[in-house]
Each structure stands twice: as C-alpha cells, then as structure tokens.
Symmetry: C2
C-alpha cells in the first residue's frame, strides 16, 4: 500500500481532493467515500454510484492518473465502486465528455511507456497476453460459438447467442458470399466466422491467427463439424497471407494492428483481393483520434489502438479500394459487453477457483468499463465494407442486408 | 487555332504522339484519327470509341494537359469523340486507373492557377458561375422537382423522377425526421428536399443557399405549395446559420466548401445541432485524396473539391459528432448523370437556340465525363449520417431504411 493510510484520519486536504476529483470528472453524479467511512462528496438526490477509496494513496493515484490509477486501484481493491458498475462508469464518461476543457487531462502523469510495437514478434507477445488465457476461461462467459467480438442485435430482446449468429450473417451478407468463393480471414479468434461462412454460405476459407490456443480450438471444431476440408486455420501473422481471394474479412483484429501498420495491412488486402473482390473490416474505433485508455492498453490489451474512421482510411486510400458502406454498431457492443459481464458474474465462483482476486477485479472492470465507454460514446464500433474500384457488380441498395433480395447493377 | 494544322499533312512524329497518347491512357480500347483522316492508332477488334483530332495543336494540348486540354479541345470542336461518349470516356478512365504508374501524370503542365478561395465572396462568385445559368436551362433536363444531385434508384428500372423522390425519402429516413422537428439545410438548390421534408415529414425547415436564382425559384414553389409558413429559404452563406435544430442536412454542397473550410463547417454543425440531433452530409468524393479534374474545376465548378472519406472526417472529428452510417452511391450517380445527358440531348435544339456550340459541347462533356468517372470509380458519392455523441435514442438496425420499422435502443 503506497501511503499506508488505511484507517488514517481524513484531513481537509483529502476532502478537497475528493471534491476536485469529481469536478475533474465533469461533476458526474457520483458520491465519494473516504477510508474512514466519511462521505466527502454527495451528488444530489439520485447519485448513480459511489466511489469508495480505501486509502489516501489510491485517491492521489486516481487524481494524477485517472485512467491507469483508477484501473490499478480498482483491481487492487483500494478503490471500490458501489452501485451498478457499468452505469456508474458510463455516468463518469458522459460527464467528462460533455464538460469540455475542465475535464481530466488524460493521464498526463500516469501514462506508461507504450507497449512494444506490433512487429511480428511484438504482435505474438501481445496476442498471447490476452487470448491465450485458456479457452476454458472464455468458454464460461462467451456464447456457445465463442465469438469474442461485438454481436449484432436485430432487436434489443435478442439473446447473445442469437445476436452472435445474426452478426456472422450480417458480415456474410455484406460480403455477398456465394458458394465456391474463396475467403481469407485475418484474425479469426476461435473460428466461429470461418466455420459459419463455410457451413452456411458454401465458401472455402483460409483463416489466420497467431493465438496458438485459439487455433488449436478452431481446428478441433472444424474436424468435429466435418468442415476441415474447406476451412484451413493457419497459425501465422496476417502479414504472411498469400494467394488470391474473392473476399477479405477481419473482425476484431484491427484494434491490435497499430496505426503504423495500417498501410501494410492495406498492401496485404490489395495483394490478396481478386478482381471484383469485396472486403470487410470490423473494429473498435473512436470518433476522433486519441490514444487508447492507458489502463486497458497497459494491463488488458497491450499494443492496442482504436482508430478514428479517418485513421482507418489509411488502410484503403493508398490502394484502389472503394469504401462502400460504414456502419457504427456502438450500442450493439455496449449490449454485448453488458451480457458478457452478467455471464462472467454468474460464473464468479468457478473463475475464482482458478484466478486471483486482482485478475477477477481487473476483468470485471475491463468488461464494465468498455460497456460504459460504448454507452457513453467514448468508443465506437465501425464495420467497413470495401471493394476493388473495378467492381461494378454491386447491389443497387443495401436492402439485401434486411431480408429483401435486391437487384444488382448491370453496368460494365 | 494554335498550330494552324487543319489539313496539314500528318508526320511520323504525329503518329508516334497519337500512339503515345493511347499508351499514356493505359492502352484504352480507343482508336485515334488525325486531321487528314488517317487512323493513327487502331484498338483491336472491338474499339469502344474513336478520338478524332482536328489539328496538331489539339493533339499536343491533350498530351501535355490531359484534363484541361481534352476538355477545352473537345468544347472547341478540335477534338471529337465518336462512339458512345460515356462509355468511351469510362473506358479511358478505367484503363488509366488500372495501368498504374505508366499512366498520365495528371495535368502537371496544364494545371491552371486554382480558382479563388471559398471565402464568403469567393463562394458567391463560384456558385453564381454555375447555378445562376438560368432556371429554364436546368428545367429542360432535370426531373420535375429540379433535384440537381445524385438520385437513389431502388432498382435500375426506376425513372429519374422516382429515383429523385426515393432519394429525398432515403435522406429523410436516415435523419429519422418526426413531425414538429426543426431542420436546417445548408445548400438547398431549388428547394426540393426542404419542401419534401416539410410536406411529407411534418418538419419546419430553414434552408440556406447563396444562388439568387435558385432561392427565388424555391420561394415561389413554397408559396405555390402552401408551405411558406414552414419552409424559410434564406439567401445567405451556410457560415451564417444561427439557431438550434433537431437535424442538419446538406446534399451536394460540400463539393463547393473547400477542404480548408471543413473544420469551420463542423463548427457550424456543432453550433446548430441540438442535443440528440442527427445530421447528413451527401457529397461527391474520392477513394483517395486528389485534386479535382483540372478542366471541371476551371470551367464548370470553380472552387470545387471532391474529398476522400478521410478528408471528410475533418468536419466531424474535431467535434463531439459520431459517424453512424456511410453509404457510397457511386453507381446511382453514374445512372443519374447518364439520364441527365439523355434528357439534355433530347432538348438540344432548344438549348442551342440560347447557348453557343462551345457551351453545349462543354456541358455534354461535363455530364458524360462525370457519368464515366462514376462508372470507372474515379469519383464516389458518399452519404454520411452522424449524430451528437450523447444521442443513444438510435435505431437498433438500419432496417427502417428498407421498409421494416425497427425498434430503437432504450439505453440512457
């Protein structure tokens, strides 16, 4: 414990700092309780939640470093958040975002040196850090297909299982997959999309991933489903994709690519895409360029960067690739993450049997914090559809994504 | 005539230059005929069209300045294009775009000094140049509502009239207009969208335009339709928009704003948009940043610039505006322009009674050249929907654009 102040008496300075913290958080409707049980800040008749600091060091850390400090203090149990975790964090994000220049200078003091770069070796280390935690862990709280990306809710009442299948179909429809086509997937997770494309749309797939645990799982599932002749899982970097394909798809990998490699990714796409080819990139993003949340980047997703749409264009604009369609699924990811957190909580006993309290608290904060950030619109989810510029065999409208089977253009 | 070579005999150098021209145009499947009737370049068994140079000066001009030179030579009748005008130009654009670095260095020699900048006075001069040509002229070849922007074809068989109404509705649905809302429109043309929004969606509209002829026409139509109490046409610059509105819409104005004013446009939107507000910007664009076609910019649309999607983000990213949806309607504009050209040609006699041959040839080249550029994908049409970041009252899916009435999210 940094300051050894647990149980130490609260001073006027501590109270002033607690109020300063809330002011810097845009006067979010949250209360602050200090380590002696005193409520140093009240928030009107209907506070959304309460921050409870267990010692003075935690309070100071959160003031100096609101991203990294809050994350680490919460994970260590030196900061509690009472009330609904997602709603409380969302209220703070919303208040910060709307309060303008008064708000936190984001982690100017607390920002760590950036993770190593996303070179081939760097990427492998970063991906191993998160995705090789054990398939059994993810199986506890993901849907049955193990889809670890934003679901697509045709209506708010859909279940997570239904919404993940709807997402897979939404992606396939956007790519206009037809039987016999060849598809390459960059970053395939546990293989759900690759297997769905092959089983339901009759295509063959080469799917790349550098997480050893995920690839092993995906290969096993392909065998079990009798799809191993048409779906090849390749444990390799997306930069090593070779061959020509009718479609390129990447769902939830771009976050890990790093801005400095976008043009390289564009070159891979350009090399891989056949004449008339279509592609889709699905990624967490931002409405304006900004560094990732310092705690998430340091502790959960090393090397990650959610791009703005303008930054994403660095992939496409250097090449003869036309953006056809962009859809922002921000609130779908808020819903997905809230559901993951609920499932995580239902399996807390099982998770605690394997992982320590720090890990469990960090993961709950990560899931709730991301749900809150999507709800407060500090992060976005962009699905970008593109094609080779030479491709005029395009649907007239997007009605085919919504049940109707629309006509194609017939121009040369 | 620059070189006085009409009827002058063709030399070996002329023939070499003619073949060089086709090579620089990516070996497009076009023939070249020179001023003495000799076909200096043949293009296999199925040429798309034939370029006929009436004098040596025209050939040289087109080689040194493929954009400005071709435009001016064609308008002056020193270059003829035989065969279907749109298909021939499209074939050349497609060949140039796919042939890579061998192709034309775009008008390095022929580029004129840029038009004056889009200051308030500059914009007024630029808009007057094009849009105040006389309403009677535009009435001859536009649809009955005088919509001078890309139509939206629900199917390729739709008429221009149907497709323009479908476009107005597509825009209104994207904005989710509801009765009683207040809408501001930046650049309203002859007022078709403003009047449609008020008549069909029950909103009130303030619509800005600096073309005096268009505003006079629009006001007259509002009175005739009994909509003048709910639609106010303001002859003023978009930068002078004041007040707060539930929706901001701009269809076909951004092309004239100029890149250096995008952040200023964003500030206007930010100032004008109420909490929960939605917006739509519809513009000709490009798949990568590039200067506008030199001839179009010099002769047809002074001060214009079709932005890349990345460039368009300069409007939104500095502010708390989230991009929700981008749709590329490139082939819709190819179809719209082809239809405008056909109507223009049906009224050639009437147009020639008022305008000289240079004007008529320039306008046919402009309409055909733009249709060809959309077909060849050298230019795009982006419809961008955005909202205030604080807005969570969003539809779950885009199904409501395609007939189904989808549910809204219900999160705070």
């Amino acid at each position: 414990m940094a300051s050894g102040s647990r149980g130490a008496s609260v001073t006027a300075l501590d109270r002033w700092l607690a109020r300063k913290l809330v002011a810097a958080a845009g006067d979010a409707p949250v209360e602050v309780e200090l380590w002696d049980g005193e409520v140093a800040h009240r928030a009107g008749p209907a506070p959304v939640g309460r921050l409870v600091f267990r010692d003075r060091g935690a309070l100071l850390t959160c003031i100096f470093s609101p991203e990294l400090g809050v994350g680490d203090s919460y994970a260590a149990g030196r900061l509690e958040i009472e009330g609904d975790l997602v709603s409380t964090i969302a209220a703070i994000y919303q208040a910060i975002e709307t309060s303008g220049p008064r708000a936190f200078k984001r982690d100017l003091l607390g920002r760590l040196p950036r993770a190593r770069r996303n070179t081939r070796d760097g990427s492998r280390a970063h991906i191993h850090h998160h995705y090789d935690l054990g398939n059994d862990f993810y199986r506890l709280w993901l849907d049955e297909r193990m889809v670890y990306t934003c679901a697509y809710y045709p209506s708010p009442e859909a279940t997570l299982e239904q919404a993940q299948v709807a997402k897979l179909d939404h992606v396939c429809r956007k790519l206009r997959l037809r039987p016999g086509q060849r598809v390459v997937e960059a970053g395939c997770g546990w293989g759900a999309l690759a297997l769905h494309m092959a089983a339901e749309y009759g295509v063959s797939v080469r799917a790349f991933n550098i997480s050893a645990e995920q690839v092993a799982f995906a290969r096993e599932r392909a065998r079990a489903l009798g799809l191993d002749a048409r779906v090849e899982f390749v444990e390799d970097d997306y930069r090593n994709i070779s061959g020509r394909f009718d479609a390129f798809v990447s769902v939830g990998m771009l976050e890990h690519v790093g801005l400095e490699h976008y043009e390289e990714l564009g070159a891979v796409i350009d090399r891989a895409l056949a004449t008339g080819g279509m592609g889709l990139v699905h990624s967490v993003g931002r409405s304006r360029p900004a560094p990732p949340n310092a705690w998430l980047e340091a502790r959960i997703f090393p090397g990650s960067h959610p791009p703005s749409l303008g930054e994403m264009m660095r992939i496409f604009e250097p090449y003869r690739l036309d953006v056809l369609d962009v859809e922002n699924l921000r609130l779908h990811y808020a819903r997905t993450l809230t559901e993951w957190l609920a499932r995580f909580d239902r399996h807390l006993d099982g998770i605690r049997a394997t992982y320590d309290d720090f890990f469990v608290r960090a993961w709950r904060l990560y899931l709730a914090g991301c749900a809150a950030a999507f709800r407060a619109s500090t992060i976005q989810l962009f699905q970008v559809v593109f094609s080779r510029a030479s491709n005029n065999a395009l649907p007239c409208t997007r009605a085919h994504l919504y049940g109707a089977d629309g006509p194609l253009w017939a121009v040369k």
